[in-house]
Homo-oligomer: 155 residues x 2
DNA sequence: TCTTTTAGTTCGTAAGACTGACCAATATAG
DNA sequence: CTATATTGGTCAGTCTTACGAACTAAAAGA
C-alpha cells in the first residue's frame, strides 16, 4: 500500500501548484510585454480565453463562474479590456439586466497569439516530462476543477 | 501522433494551474480561520514548510530561493511570523551578515497541523482522481519546478 | 401584485508580490 | 593587503489581483 504522501522532502501538491502557477504567470507577463501588448495583464486571460470562438459572447456572470472569480472582479477586468478595445459590452437582447461580452477583432488577434504561446509552452513541457504526462496532468487538473473544487464558491 | 493540445474547450494547463492553486489557497484560508490561527495567512506556508524538521534553520535567502519569491517578500513574511512567535531570527554564527530562521515550538505545532491538513486534502483528491494520478501529477510538477522553471528567477 | 431572486455596478480594502535603492559583511583579484 | 565585487538583508514605495458590502434595476414566482 503506497501512501499518497510522497517521500519526505517533496513539497505537497498544493504548494507546488501555487509555485508552478506563479512561475507561469511571470512567464506570461514577460511574453505579454515582449509582444507589445501594453494594456494587457495576465489576469485578463480569465476574460479572453472563455470567449474564444464564441461569437455570441458570454454574460458577465457566466464569465465569472467559469473563471472562478467574483462578478465584481470580472466586471473590473472586462471594463479594462473594453476601454482598451479587446472586448465589447452590449446589452443582452433577451434580458435587460444582462450584458453580453464579445471579443473584438483586436481581442481575437490577441487571443490567437496568446493561445499560440500557451501551446508552445505546453510543447516545451512535453519535451521535459513527456507528452503523456502533460496529458495526465491536464486531465487530473480538469477533474479536480470540475468535480472536487466545484462546490467551493457555489454560494 | 496525438498532439499535446487537448480537445478544444479544455483550458490550457497554465489557466487550470492558476485556478486550482487559487482554489487551494481559499481552502487553506478557510481551514486556517477555522483552526483559530488568527495571525497566519496562506503565504506563510512559504516559510513554515521549508523549515519543517530543520532544527538548524535556514537563511533568509535560502528560504526565498526554495519558495521562489524575492528576499524582500520573504523578509516580510518572516517578520510577521516572528512577531507572532512562530519563528525566530537569529544571527548566523558563521556569517555576520546572515540570519538563521528557525521554527519555535509554536511554529512546529502549526506545522504539524497544517501538514496534516495538506495530507488529508491530497487523500481526498486521491479518492477522486486515483492515488496513482496524484503521484503522477506530483512528479510532473516537481520536474517542472526543478528542471523547466528553474532558470526563471535566477538573477 | 408583492416579494424574492438574478445581473451588474460602485466603493473600499486586503493579500501577496515586485522593483529600486541602500548598508554591511565577506570574498576575490591585483 | 588593499580595492573591488559579491552576497545577505533591510527599507520604502508600488502594482496586480482579488474580495466583501451595499446598492440599483430587471425578471421570476407565489
Amino acid at each position: 500500500m503506497s501512501s499518497t504522501r510522497a517521500e519526505p522532502g517533496l513539497p505537497f501538491m498544493g504548494a507546488m501548484l501555487r509555485m508552478v502557477g506563479h512561475a507561469m504567470q511571470q512567464r506570461l507577463t514577460t511574453w505579454i510585454e515582449a509582444s507589445g501588448y501594453k494594456d494587457i495583464q495576465p489576469a485578463h486571460s480569465a476574460v479572453i480565453q472563455p470567449l474564444w470562438q464564441r461569437p455570441e459572447g458570454l454574460r458577465l456572470t457566466e464569465l465569472a463562474k467559469v473563471s472562478r472569480i467574483t462578478k465584481q472582479s470580472m466586471s473590473a477586468l472586462v471594463s479594462e479590456l473594453e476601454s482598451a478595445g479587446y472586448v465589447t459590452r452590449a446589452p443582452d437582447a433577451n434580458d435587460a439586466r444582462a450584458m453580453r461580452i464579445r471579443l473584438t477583432a483586436r481581442g481575437r488577434r490577441y487571443g490567437t497569439e496568446v493561445r499560440a504561446f500557451a501551446q508552445q509552452t505546453e510543447s516545451e513541457w512535453a519535451e521535459h516530462i513527456g507528452a503523456q504526462r502533460v496529458e495526465q496532468v491536464r486531465e487530473a487538473l480538469h477533474i479536480l476543477l470540475t468535480k472536487v473544487l466545484a462546490e467551493q464558491g457555489e454560494q
